[in-house]
């Protein structure tokens, strides 16, 4: 059995449009024949693929930006048992849509990547872990591949529950092991790469990352590095939440983030702040956003992160404190409820922010909020509390004037306005339906 049918290679895409190459317009066909016509057949490279990924400098696009070759090598070397490889498409961040887009419009790129991982690591099992909505498209794609005997092992599907933490690495493993809910476990002493699904070494890799692997396997590391910078090679998908709903774009790393996201200078001038990386990410001022390049290193230096590529613009006519308070309430509810500092800390953080955003005059000030951020940061089994702390800290920096107004007057003229961020909308809807 082989991934190679015949070595007929297609031309590599030359621009910055790679994963999304050929996907514009509503009529893009996600079928296998179209995929093979567009990209050519897959070539097996076994362990040489890991060297190629190393040379390419590919990092994970699920949010952690961890070097892919390092991860694959540690899975390969962690035990003599054959590993399990998992394509993680849970995308549990409500403001992100790029993984769902790939799974519906380019499922074979993702499955190629998973097949390549299974092949390179000699996997015992390969699983696609996706939300219910993505299952039909993946099922069709797997059936097409099975009919052509394309994959080294059978690819299974597992449903990812609709919960913020469902995509966290150890939560994925717990969900797949079936003994526990999709909640994180304490893995500081025994990493998932050593002991994951069924006790086997496990590779959990985001679906976009696997799609990049599919292209690197075909066109090589040198091609991958033709776009981007030496430190930040390649491209990444961004989900841009601006005036008219989420739009997915493919950005060259190292290029201007504002231009890549398709935000005009006029629109940025009407923007109050930009959330990067989602609810576990952080806020950038419009000025900073205008200066940032597409690089997680640069974003982290500025107190935020690109995470899994969420960009959300907060327009001038909404109340940023109310948006933040509602998002933190959402994040509190999305915690796994396992770690004391996170359970108590996020509840207290949400209450304090609520009083700052909605309460009367002379309520708690930003210093009280920051004190709780410091108490929850780094205190959980997973990074959920750390992400909320970054979201709040960066927000109080970018919206310092608004926070001062709230502390003085208890609210602002826009506090009662509609919410813009998806998680804030979810929380508002819930509160209204309960009232």
């Amino acid at each position: 059995m082989s991934l190679t049918l015949h070595n007929e290679f297609k031309a590599a895409p030359t621009g910055g449009r790679r994963l999304l190459h050929g996907l514009s317009g509503g009529a893009a066909d996600p079928g296998l024949q179209t995929h093979l016509d567009r990209w050519g057949d897959l070539r097996l490279r076994k362990s040489r693929l890991i060297d190629e990924l190393d040379g390419a400098g590919l990092v994970g696009h699920g949010g952690a930006w961890f070097p892919v070759s390092t991860k694959w090598r540690s899975v390969a070397s962690s035990s003599r048992r054959r590993p399990v490889v998992v394509a993680n498409g849970a995308e549990s961040e409500p403001a992100s849509r790029k993984d769902a887009l790939l799974l519906s419009r380019a499922p074979h790129l993702v499955l190629d990547g998973l097949a390549l991982a299974a092949d390179a690591l000699g996997a015992h099992q390969a699983i696609v872990y996706v939300p219910a909505g993505s299952i039909p498209a993946v099922e069709v794609a797997i059936e097409e591949r099975r009919a052509r005997r394309l994959d080294p092992i059978a690819i299974e599907i597992a449903e990812a529950p609709d919960a913020f933490l469902a995509g966290q690495e150890s939560a994925v493993v717990n969900a797949l092991n079936g003994r526990r809910l999709a909640v994180p476990s304490f893995v500081a002493l025994t990493p998932i790469r050593e002991r994951g699904v069924g006790g086997r070494p496990t590779l959990v890799q985001n679906v976009e990352t696997l799609a990049h692997v599919a292209l690197i396997a075909r066109f090589g590391a040198t091609w991958f590095r033709q776009v981007g910078t030496p430190e930040n090679p390649g491209t990444m998908l961004l989900t841009v939440n601006a005036h008219d709903g989420p739009v997915i774009v493919e950005a060259a790393l190292g290029s201007s983030l504002r231009l890549a996201a398709g935000i005009s200078a006029e629109e940025l001038a009407r923007t109050r702040g930009v959330l990067l990386g989602g609810y576990g990410g952080g806020w950038a001022s419009p000025k900073l956003f205008g200066e940032l390049v597409v690089s997680d290193t640069a974003a982290r230096r500025a107190g935020t992160t690109l995470g899994a590529g969420v960009v959300a613009l907060l327009p001038g006519e909404v109340c940023p404190l109310a948006e933040m308070a509602d998002v933190v309430r959402y994040m509190e509810g999305q915690g796994a409820g396992q770690c004391g500092p996170c359970v108590h800390g996020l509840a207290e953080l949400a209450d304090t922010l609520d009083r700052l955003a909605y309460g009367g005059a002379r309520g708690p000030g930003p210093d009280r909020v920051l004190e709780i951020c410091n108490l929850v940061d780094g205190r959980g089994a997973c990074r959920h509390p750390d992400g909320v702390a970054r979201f709040v800290r960066s927000g109080l920096g970018v919206f310092a004037d608004e926070a001062a107004t709230h502390q003085r007057r208890g609210h602002c003229s826009q506090t009662r306005a509609v919410r813009v961020l998806p998680a804030a909308k979810i929380v508002r809807r819930r509160l209204v339906s309960r009232a």
Partner: protein, 71 residues
């Protein structure tokens, strides 16, 4: 030659804030306002290893670990 050092690691899922560890090793462990231990990141030097081991052994939830790490 690589050097090994000892550090304390808390499993925050297992920990339910009994606070025994902070009594055993107050020089390194402090309780937060909800009663959960906060370990200062400093190395566990030979002089306090015995106390650290006692803190680990006395946790009713076995939520605190003394681990070796290369430094």
């Amino acid at each position: 030659m690589s050097r090994w050092s000892l550090e304390l690691v808390i499993d925050p899922i297992a920990c339910d804030g009994r606070g025994v560890c902070a009594e055993m090793l107050p020089e390194r462990i402090e309780l937060d306002r909800w009663g959960y231990p906060m370990v200062d990141g400093a190395e566990i030097v030979p002089a306090i290893v015995d106390h650290a081991v006692r803190a680990v052994r006395s946790c009713p939830r076995q939520a605190i670990h003394l681990v070796e790490s290369a430094c």
